[in-house]
Structures are given as structure tokens and as C-alpha cells.
């Protein structure tokens, strides 16, 4: 029986002693995984995936890989193994009446969806609608929850009443504005209803907005719009209306019926408090076409103080937030970008474009460098998501969450879903989980709504509290929302 010398390495806690193994070449992933499980005599069998020479995840037998890559029989293979992603399982579906344009799982144990009917809905993990907020009169295109500001001021405001957890939600819409909405949730029981309050409207754009994102500290927002502008806002709700150009407000048309209705709806939403109008701190102007996504770099590392945006003019631009200028531009050739995501270390950008690819750009290199690789999809890729952990709960948030943080299972799970994985959603109704180390094919596939309806948004939350060690991919789109267990 032909064998092949192999050295196993791992970053997981399940390390084998460093020695050379002679592995039969017809062994596949299953045999290798069993070998490790037996060698370590693990109590519960853990499936592993094997990354050969740091480039390819082993899919066939070892012999097939060596012949395909032209590796001689004497060469020692270095195989890294990690806990494999189990085939994703559908956990639940949350039906919506209208298309779900954006989904966020940043609020712990809750799922925030924005729909084309202008409503923001908040679900808890028991699939119950906690809140249904008719925010906008037009379709909402993007939503994000602003992490609680850690300043004592805001924490006080969060703590306006006991037993309540409050969040601020930013939503961008087709009606040319973005809104800040505050939701307060009862902590303990479901007897009390969740309440919400519209705080402010953000006025800048003259065409529908495509995305809104908050930074990790919850102090600033970025909006991207079809008019090629990126707005940079703070999250403070002003006491007075900011000076907004009259052309944006349309004071004369309030008399017409549609704004009147909208006003009435808004009045219903806001209740007694007045809706403040906000103006942006800075406007980033460089894009020549629609900006499809704008987001902040992570505060640690090189991404601090930077913002990134991509647009239909085939560019990915890096902005200096303080100066409000474009400091770097990656120009692709004829790739109108639809979505952008950054790895947590802000070194790599993933950009989905209408030519059915997700392109990987190295942000550290100069803008002249070409892409590091491209992931081919069969149809248009509409959204990308990297696994994120939920916001650090506010100080008043549950001790349960704190307990979960201390849970070693969570820590294990963080290792499971490495930084190299992300999920994309495409118009063929398939959410694909990819590994940056093996770009030929998706690692795992979630076929949503029988693969007939478009996915418009995905989000990937690391270890939700109720679901043990598993990550949760929530998929929003034409058919509502589906939640899948991944990893």
C-alpha cells in the first residue's frame, strides 16, 4: 500500500505530537479525521478538515491531491487541520410579507430585519416578533445597530429605566434619508411590550441610500448613496434641527398628499417627541457613480481612522475619516461593486461585483496591486458577511451574556470559525461559506428557499447564546429570513 509522509499541524487545541506520519494515499478526509480522533482519543468525535500545504482543503483522497498538484512521493506534506464546518442546517425561517433587504444579528439574541415595506422588525430567538417598527415610508435598504456608546453619558441614557435594554438602530431607505431609531426591550419577561422612538433623520443624499454602517464604538455612522456621496455622521441626536438645505427638505411639497401621509406615519411612530434633522459631519466625494457600501475600518490596527467604500465606478476607496479625503483607490476593471467586507485585521477587503465574482484585495499594498484572487459565483453576488460577534452588551445588559462570554465553549467556537471564512449570498438563492485559503469552491452551501429566490443580505453571528458553539448565518432576501446553523 502506497503511503505518503505527512506532518500534521494545527492551531486548534487538539494538537498531535509533531512527527512524521506515513499516510496511505487513498485516505480521504474521513480517515484522516478518524486518525486524529483516535490518536487523541477524544471523548466526542470532532470532524476535522485538512488544509494541504496551506492552500487547498482536501476534498478527494490524498493520492488524488498529490497527482493533481504534481507532488512527488518522497516530499513531506504539511497538513494543517481544523475543525470542519458541518453541513449547514436550517434552524428556522421567519416569514416576511415583503422582501428583506437587510439583516443584522448584532443585537444579542435578537435578529433585526429591514424590509422593503419600510418596517424594521426585531425577532428574538424564539422567532417571535419583538418589535415591528414602521420607520420609513419607502423601502429600507440597509440597517445596522449602533453599538452602545461606552461614555457614561450614553450609558446613563441607556439606563433610563430598569429591566430594559435599549438599542439605537440606524436605517437607510429609498426615501433619501436615514433614520436613527431607539428601541427599548423589556429584559425579563415578554409581558411588557417593546417600545421604540424615532430619534433623528439624516439628510444629505439626493438619491436613494444603499448602505448605512456604524463604527465599532458606536459614535459615528457612514451612509452610502446612489448619488456617489458617502456621508459621515455622528450618532448624537441634536437638540436642534441642523441646517438642512431647503432643496433636500422640500418645504413646498408638504402640502401634497404623499408627504402628508408620511408625516402622519412619522408622527405615529415618533409619538410626542419631535424628529430631529441631522446634517452630516463630512461628505466624502470621490465616487463617480453609485456607492454601494461604506464601512469603517476596525479600530485596532491599520484600519483605525479609516473608512472604506466601494461603488459602481469599479473602485474601492480608502478614506481618512478625520480629513475627509480619499487616501487610496483600488481601481478594478469594469467591476461595479455591490458589497464590501473587511477582515477584522483590516488587511483584506472582499468586494462583490456584478461580474459574479468576489474579489480579494490586499489593503496594505499600494493601490496599484491587482487583486489577490477572485471567487467565482454562478450568479450575481449581492452580499458578503464575515463572522462577527454581537456587540459587547451594555453594562446593564444581562449577566447571562457575561456568563456566556466566560463559557469556554464560546472560546472554542471562536477558534472554529477562523478569520479566513466568510459567507456570500447570491441571487440564485444560495448562501456560500468560503475559506480564504481555498478559493476554488465554497466550503459549505446553504440552499435557501429552494434556491429560487434572491438573497439580498446575509449576516454571520458567532456563537449565539442559545445555540451552543455554533455560528449562525441569517439570510434575508426575497423569501423572508432563514437562519442556518453553520460551523
Amino acid at each position: 500500500m502506497a503511503t505518503h509522509p505527512v506532518i500534521f499541524t494545527t492551531k486548534t487545541p487538539y494538537a498531535l505530537p509533531s512527527q512524521k506520519f506515513l499516510i496511505p494515499i487513498q485516505w480521504k478526509r474521513y480517515q484522516l479525521s478518524q486518525l486524529i480522533n483516535k490518536a487523541l482519543s477524544l471523548p466526542n468525535p470532532i470532524p476535522f478538515d485538512f488544509l494541504v500545504r496551506g492552500s487547498d482543503i482536501l476534498r478527494g483522497s490524498l493520492g488524488e491531491w498529490t497527482t493533481a498538484n504534481g507532488v512527488g512521493e518522497e516530499d513531506t506534506l504539511e497538513i494543517e487541520y481544523f475543525e470542519s464546518i458541518l453541513p449547514p442546517q436550517r434552524m428556522s425561517t421567519l416569514p416576511h410579507e415583503d422582501w428583506v433587504s437587510s439583516i443584522s444579528s448584532q443585537i444579542p439574541q435578537h435578529l433585526l430585519t429591514a424590509s422593503y415595506d419600510g418596517h424594521i422588525r426585531l425577532f428574538d430567538y424564539s422567532q417571535a416578533v419583538v418589535a415591528d417598527i414602521p420607520t420609513h415610508a419607502a423601502a429600507i435598504t440597509s440597517i445596522c445597530s449602533i453599538p452602545p456608546v461606552s461614555s457614561p453619558n450614553s450609558s446613563e441614557s441607556d439606563l433610563d429605566s430598569e429591566d430594559r435594554q435599549t438599542f439605537t438602530i440606524a436605517s437607510a431607505s429609498h426615501d433619501l434619508t436615514a433614520r436613527l431609531t431607539k428601541i427599548s426591550l423589556p429584559l425579563s419577561s415578554h409581558s411588557q411590550k417593546a417600545t421604540f422612538q424615532s430619534l433623528a433623520t439624516l439628510h444629505l443624499h439626493t438619491l436613494p441610500l444603499s448602505s448605512i454602517t456604524a463604527d465599532s464604538t458606536g459614535t459615528h455612522l457612514l451612509t452610502a448613496s446612489w448619488d456617489g456621496l458617502v456621508g459621515f455622521w455622528d450618532t448624537q441626536v441634536p437638540d436642534q434641527d441642523d441646517g438642512i438645505p431647503a432643496s433636500l427638505l422640500g418645504n413646498g411639497e408638504d402640502a401634497s398628499s404623499q408627504p402628508k401621509k408620511k408625516r402622519r406615519v412619522a408622527a405615529d411612530i415618533t409619538g410626542e417627541t419631535k424628529l430631529r434633522r441631522k446634517a452630516p459631519l463630512t461628505v466624502f466625494k470621490s465616487h463617480t457613480n453609485r456607492v454601494s457600501k461604506a464601512l469603517f475600518g476596525a479600530e485596532n490596527g491599520s484600519g483605525n481612522g479609516k473608512a472604506y467604500s466601494c461603488g459602481f465606478d469599479s473602485t474601492v476607496r480608502t478614506w481618512d475619516v478625520e480629513m475627509g479625503v480619499c487616501v487610496d483607490t483600488i481601481t478594478a476593471s469594469k467591476k461595479p461593486f455591490l458589497d464590501l467586507a473587511l477582515t477584522p485585521d483590516a488587511r483584506t477587503a472582499l468586494a462583490a461585483s456584478t461580474d459574479r465574482t468576489v474579489t480579494i484585495y490586499d489593503l496594505r499594498a499600494s493601490s496599484l496591486t491587482t487583486s489577490a484572487g477572485a471567487l467565482q459565483h454562478p450568479t450575481t453576488v449581492s452580499c458578503i458577511a464575515l463572522p462577527t460577534s454581537a456587540h459587547a452588551p451594555s453594562p446593564s445588559a444581562t449577566a447571562k451574556a457575561a456568563n456566556l462570554d466566560a463559557d469556554p465553549g464560546i472560546a472554542n467556537h471562536d477558534a472554529t470559525i477562523s478569520q479566513n471564512q466568510f459567507v456570500t449570498g447570491a441571487y440564485d438563492g444560495i448562501a456560500r461559506v468560503w475559506d480564504l485559503r481555498s478559493m476554488r469552491a465554497a466550503v459549505a452551501v446553504c440552499r435557501v428557499w429552494e434556491g429560487k429566490k434572491k438573497i439580498l443580505s446575509v449576516d454571520w453571528a458567532r456563537g449565539g447564546a442559545g445555540s451552543g458553539t455554533n455560528g449562525m448565518v441569517s439570510v434575508g432576501g426575497e423569501g423572508g429570513v432563514e437562519i442556518w446553523r453553520v460551523g
Binding site: W99, T206, N251, T354, K454
Partner: protein, 745 residues
């Protein structure tokens, strides 16, 4: 005849005698001629002093001698004539005369002496040559007949009997009795004795006497003194004088003579005779092959060479078995694999005559005669080199190549759609009257309107400062404002479509009705003339102030141009030939394209005249578009043809593409990218790269890029309309299956 010949010889000699004294006179005459020539020379010399010596014609110095030769030949002729004369004079020997004797008498008429010959009596005796020897056996030894009763045969094949011959006694007696017997000799041919004639006897006598057998020979003739004697002495017969100069110098006198003629010709006194039509006589070598520019005829194919099996002694494996032989005999001759059976003979001499020789020759002749051989000029061209060098489609990216998303109209087929100028929204209208506005990238409908009746055409206004679109239904045009506009744009649009103060009303049969209040319905409605039918096409001027509409009715009220700022409609054509199918505004000039069923006419609206008529050769035009540069037009027809016109070039198509299998429904140029697309009833959309060069010398480059299939053919209808998005190479297509597809690059 020997006698006669001898006489002739004698006669000749006598003639020469008589000729001799004439010779000097002849020479004198020659000298005389020379003298006269000299005189002429002298004359010419006197005339040639005027210095015209420059143009001296070349004269062959041998011409003199040639003349002499010809003179000599003339002299010979003269001699012959004299011979004849002398013949007539000699009639002094009547016995030896063979020919009839002639008499010289004085003619009664002319008074001159003339010769008269006796009459010839045309009987057999008149000519001795006809007197035949009765024995015709020829020159055979006569002793062959010694034992036979006859001595030969006459001309009729009858025997010539041997004459009776007596014995020796009879002969002796005969010699005694006949006194002439000793002068007779035996004639072998007649096998009898024949008496000798007197001439013969005379010859015998002369031979006996040792004399010359010719009786006329005179051994003592007087000496003829040819070059001696009195008056004939040649004092110096050979001259040592050097050759005269004139032998090698060009003749001065000839030159002068010729110059005289030349001068006369120059002065026009001598006119050359007209060229006779002798030139038309063309001589040609009848035996030479004319040089032919045709190819030499092909050599006939060579007959097949025999093989081993045709040998008289073939190897045993070639010999047929009985089964094979039977099978061969049973098949028809034309079906046989070969037309013979191998046969074995022990020796070559046993091989019989070839039985099919005649038939084979005949067949080959038939073959040669019935199958004329032509030399085919085979083109030795690599077929791949004939394919025009086109760039590969992958180098011409981006172009739409996949179906990104689908928007479905549930009920009817979608006839028309339009993309907003910013390329973000699509408005599509189906035959149930439903108008939907949806996002290009997501495919989510954000607003819909329900109208009554089919939607015939939809066009978005190209202006960017206002935003609205026009929908054509039965005899009506509806104007709609899309949602999600900034207030400034909305106000401007609203004031344009439903102004507070109406501009002064104009004389027009078309009513403009604004409804300021209803935002859900149309803000402005135009009532086209009644019975004008469904507007099947709308075309905006690029500035967005003028809108042209084409109604489907065949009547005159088909084409209207509406002006938004003045709220006025007018019919540009009082009368137009043929049913108008489409109209288009030129993108840069005030030109107006009108497509009827067969022709595309280009009008100048400012000068109100017809500029040109394009003849695409299409039976029924279905679609048309103008290149953004304005210099090129594509026209598609229901007969599957797509014609590309270069307006600068010709009225005829520059290129005709026939790639669709069914009728072409829609065509459009991309406003910014060098692309155009055509859609057809076969359910496919074809994308072409069409690069137009600014210099007039380079032809447009048209490269087929991609065939997009995704629409179903329903009731024979495929893709009914296609539109490009403005800033991206994306295509939106509306199909009869109720779907609107977005194709992305």
C-alpha cells in the same frame, strides 16, 4: 527516237553557229545603257550643287550588280525566242522530220509571213504512239513460250498465236525466193522476221565500215573562230585596272535623284499613292499553330494498370473458388467488384484472345468523349484565412453575459420597457395595463400603476433635472412621476407637467390635461386623435423637450411631435408615403428618421426637407436605432435582417447581418459603450461589439459577442424590447413570456 535526238543535237550546234555573230551587238547595247546612266549622273551632279546633301538615303551598293543579273536573265529569254525562230527556218531535211512539217506562207490578212502546219487527222494512224505491240507480255524471256502454241497475250488477254514457222528448208527457200530476206531480222517479241528499214541498214553499214553510225555527223567541219579571227581579237582580255570607286561609294547620282524625289515629296508635288487595300491581305502561316492563351487540354486519364490477379498465371490465392465464381456470375455486371475473373493458364501461348477488347475500347472512347475534362483551378486557400480577423470577445469586455435577475409580470406579455437616465430604475408595461417601476439591481418593484388597455410604449424622459416617464395606451399618452425624488426635482417635474399657469393654448387637435392633485395616477394625459390606435413607439429628443409618438393606425395621423415646454402637439407630416413604423431623433442634428415599411427617410426638421432615403432591402422594418455619434443607423426587420448603415457612405447598407432565426423585434445601441444588441422572436438576444472610428477611412468594426438565451417563446413571440442601462453595460429585456430580465456583465 534515237535518230530524232541525234538530229536535235545537230540542230543545236548549228544554232550556236548562227548566234555567235550577234554577241558583240548585245554587249554594245549593255554598254549603251551604262552610258545613259552616266549621263543621268552628270545631270544630277549639276543639280545637286544646292547643298542638300545632308539627308543622304542609304543605297545598297550591290544594286548595280543585281541589275546586271536581271539583264542577263532577260538575255537568256531572248536567246530562247531566237531558238524558236530558227527552228522554223530549218526545214531542209524532210526525211528526218518527225513533227509535221510547217509551211511559211504570206498571210492574206496581215500580209506577214506565217507558218502553217498540215491538218492532223485524228484517227489511229495519225499517232504512232497509239500503235500497240500486239504482244503485251512485257519484258519477259521469250523462251518461256517456246513450248507453247502462243507467244503472249494481247491487251484483251487473248493469246497471240505463234506465227507459223517453217522448218529449215522453208527458211532456206525463203531466202532464196525473197530478195529482201537477207535484210530482215528476227523480232523476238513477235517471234518472226521483220524487214529492217533503210535507216537501220545504213547504221549497220556504217558500223561495218567503222564509221560514225550517225549519218549526219561531219567529221570535217570548218573551225569556228569564237575569240580569234578577223575582228574578234581581244587585245587585253584581262584588265588589271583597279576596281572603280563607284563600286563601293554610294552613288552620287542616285542620291541626287532620290533627293529630287524627296524634295518633290516635301513640296507636295508628288503625292504618295493611297495605301491600297492590299494590306488587308493578311498572310498567315497555315501550318503553324497559333499561340494560344488557353490552357493545354488535360491529358486523358491513364487506364488502370493491370494487377496481379489479371496475370495469365496468377498466384493461387487470386483464383476464385467455385462459390466466388458463382457469385460473380450472378451479380449484375455493374455491381461486380471487378469485371473479370482471374484465370490460370499453364503457358502464355494458351491464353485465348481477349474477349472484351472491343467493348473495353468502346467504353474508353465513350468515356473520353462523354466526359469532357475541364481544368479546375483549385484554390489552394486555407479556409481559416478567409475568416475576417476579429478580436476575441473576451478582449472586448465588458458586455452582458449572464442573466442577473428576473422581474415577472404575472399576467400579460411585456411589450415595452424603459430604463431611467441614471440607470437605476426600470419601468415596464404589460398588455394588461400594468406599469411597474423597479430597481435594476435588485428587481424589487417599488411602485405600480394600473391603466386600462394595453401598454404600447414607455419612455423615460432623458432630462436629468426632471424625472418622469411617458406611457402610451390606446389613444392616450400618460405622464408619470416616479417615487423617491428629491423635492427639488419633484417640484420641477411637477411644475413642468402640471404648471400652475398654463401657457397660451395652441391650435392642436390634441388635448393636454394635467391633474395636479392625483399623484397616484398620471399627472398629465394627452388625448391623441380618435381612432389613432395604440401608440407603438415613443421617441424623445435628447434634450427632453420634444416627444415623438407613432400610433399604430394606418391613417395619416400616425406621427405626432409633442413639445413639453409649450404643451403643444403637431403633426410633422401632412402626407407620408407608407405606414410609419418608427421615428427617431438624430442625437446631434435637427434630423428626424422616419421608417416606413420598406424605407428609412431622413428629414431635416429645421429646413423641412427630405435629406436622404435609406433602402435597407427589408420587407418590413421592425426596429431602428441611431448610433450615439449620429452617423450610423441600424435597422432590423421582420424578415430577420439587420442592416447597418453608414450615413456618410451610402443609402445602401454597409453590412447586413442575418443571425436571428426569427423576426427581429428590437435593436439598441448602448449610449456609451461600443455595444449594440438585437432581440428576436426566436427568444434570443444577440450582443455585438460595434466600434465606430472617428476617422472616415476606417470601417466600423462589428463583432458578434454573445447570444443571450433566457426568454421563452410564447405564441410565436420572443423578446419584444431591449434597453441598455445608461452607465453600465447591462441590458434589460422584455419578453412575451411576461418576464423582464436584467443581463449583467
Amino acid at each position: 527516237m534515237t535518230v530524232a535526238e541525234a538530229k536535235k543535237l545537230l540542230k543545236k550546234r548549228k544554232q550556236q553557229d548562227e548566234e555567235a555573230p550577234e554577241k558583240p551587238a548585245f554587249e554594245e547595247s549593255v554598254a549603251l545603257e551604262m552610258l545613259s546612266e552616266d549621263e543621268n549622273d552628270a545631270d544630277a551632279q549639276s543639280e545637286s550643287d544646292d547643298g542638300e546633301v545632308d539627308a543622304f538615303p542609304e543605297i545598297d551598293p550591290r544594286s548595280d550588280s543585281e541589275n546586271e543579273e536581271s539583264e542577263k536573265s532577260e538575255d537568256d529569254d531572248d536567246e530562247l525566242e531566237e531558238d524558236v525562230e530558227e527552228d522554223s527556218d530549218e526545214d531542209s531535211h524532210p526525211d528526218l522530220q518527225i513533227f509535221p512539217k510547217s509551211k511559211t506562207i504570206v498571210s492574206d490578212i496581215t500580209g506577214q509571213p506565217k507558218r502553217v502546219y498540215p491538218e492532223i487527222e485524228p484517227d489511229y494512224d495519225s499517232d504512232s504512239s497509239t500503235e500497240d505491240d500486239p504482244n503485251r507480255v512485257g519484258n519477259v524471256p521469250m523462251h518461256w513460250y517456246d513450248d507453247l502454241p502462243h507467244v503472249g497475250y494481247d491487251i484483251n488477254g487473248k493469246r497471240v498465236l505463234r506465227p507459223a514457222q517453217g522448218d529449215e528448208l522453208d527458211k532456206f527457200l525463203q531466202t532464196v525466193e525473197d530478195p529482201t530476206a537477207w535484210t530482215s531480222a528476227f523480232d523476238k517479241n513477235a517471234q518472226m522476221d521483220k524487214p529492217l528499214s533503210a535507216d537501220e541498214l545504213d547504221i549497220i553499214r556504217r558500223l561495218q565500215a567503222g564509221e560514225n553510225p550517225d549519218g549526219d555527223y561531219d567529221p570535217y567541219e570548218p573551225t569556228v573562230e569564237w575569240f580569234t579571227g578577223k575582228g574578234k581579237e581581244e587585245i587585253m582580255p584581262l584588265s588589271a585596272a583597279p576596281e572603280p570607286k563607284r563600286r563601293w561609294l554610294p552613288s552620287k547620282w542616285e542620291k541626287q535623284k532620290i533627293m529630287k524625289i524627296v524634295r518633290a515629296i516635301r513640296q507636295g508635288r508628288i503625292v504618295g499613292s493611297k495605301p491600297t487595300n492590299a494590306d488587308t491581305k493578311s498572310f498567315y502561316p497555315i501550318w503553324n499553330e497559333l499561340p494560344s492563351n488557353q490552357e493545354p487540354p488535360l491529358p486523358a486519364p491513364k487506364p488502370r494498370l493491370p494487377t496481379n490477379s489479371e496475370s495469365y498465371n496468377p498466384p493461387a490465392e487470386y483464383l476464385p473458388t467455385d462459390v466466388e465464381r458463382k457469385q460473380w456470375e450472378n451479380t449484375d455486371p455493374e455491381n461486380r467488384e471487378r469485371d473479370y475473373l482471374p484465370q490460370k493458364y499453364s503457358a502464355l501461348r494458351l491464353v485465348p484472345a481477349y474477349d472484351r477488347f472491343i467493348k473495353e475500347r468502346f467504353n474508353r472512347q465513350l468515356d473520353l468523349y462523354l466526359a469532357p475534362r475541364i481544368q479546375r483551378t483549385k484554390l489552394n486557400i486555407d479556409p481559416n484565412s478567409l475568416i475576417p480577423k476579429l478580436p476575441s470577445p473576451s478582449s472586448l469586455k465588458p458586455f452582458p453575459n449572464y442573466n442577473s435577475l428576473k422581474f415577472s409580470h404575472v399576467k400579460g406579455r411585456v411589450r415595452c420597457l424603459s430604463v431611467s437616465p441614471d440607470g437605476a430604475w426600470v419601468v415596464s408595461g404589460d398588455e394588461e395595463g400594468m406599469v411597474s417601476v423597479w430597481e435594476v439591481n435588485v428587481g424589487r418593484e417599488i411602485k405600480r400603476w394600473k391603466l386600462d388597455g394595453k401598454i404600447g410604449a414607455i419612455e423615460w424622459c432623458p432630462r436629468t433635472d426632471v424625472s418622469f416617464f411617458v406611457v402610451g395606451t390606446e389613444e392616450k399618452l400618460h405622464f408619470f412621476i416616479p417615487p423617491h425624488l428629491t423635492p427639488s426635482i419633484f417640484n420641477l417635474t411637477h411644475s413642468l407637467l402640471a404648471p400652475a399657469t398654463l401657457p397660451p393654448a395652441t391650435q392642436s387637435p390634441i388635448k393636454w390635461m394635467s391633474s395636479a392633485s392625483s399623484t397616484d395616477g398620471s399627472i398629465l394625459t394627452l388625448n391623441l386623435p380618435s381612432s389613432s390606435g395604440l401608440p407603438k413607439q415613443l421617441a424623445w429628443h435628447r434634450k427632453g423637450d420634444y416627444l415623438a409618438s407613432v400610433s399604430s393606425s394606418e391613417s395619416q395621423g400616425g406621427v405626432w411631435i409633442h413639445q413639453m415646454s409649450r404643451r403643444h402637439s403637431q403633426a410633422p407630416f401632412k402626407k407620408i408615403k407608407g405606414a410609419v413604423q418608427l421615428v427617431l431623433f438624430h442625437p446631434t442634428k435637427p434630423h428626424f428618421f422616419v421608417a416606413t415599411q420598406r424605407y428609412v427617410r431622413v428629414y431635416n426638421l429645421a429646413e423641412q426637407k427630405l435629406l436622404k432615403t435609406l433602402m435597407p432591402g427589408i420587407k418590413w422594418i421592425s426596429s431602428m436605432d441611431v448610433h450615439p455619434s449620429g452617423d450610423h443607423v441600424i435597422v432590423g426587420g421582420y424578415d430577420r435582417k439587420l442592416c447597418w448603415f453608414d450615413l456618410e457612405l451610402s443609402d445602401k447598407p454597409y453590412k447586413i447581418l442575418r443571425y436571428h432565426t426569427r423576426a427581429i423585434r428590437s435593436l439598441q445601441f448602448h449610449p456609451t459603450y461600443p455595444l449594440f444588441a438585437s432581440s428576436s422572436d426566436d427568444g434570443s438576444i444577440q450582443i455585438f461589439h460595434a466600434r465606430v472610428y472617428s476617422d472616415l477611412m476606417t470601417d466600423p468594426l462589428i463583432v458578434p459577442l454573445k447570444i443571450l438565451r433566457g426568454h421563452d417563446v410564447k405564441e410565436g413571440l420572443g423578446v419584444l424590447q431591449i434597453k441598455w442601462t445608461n452607465k453600465q453595460p447591462w441590458l434589460v429585456s422584455a419578453g412575451a413570456d411576461g418576464n423582464v430580465l436584467v443581463w449583467c456583465s
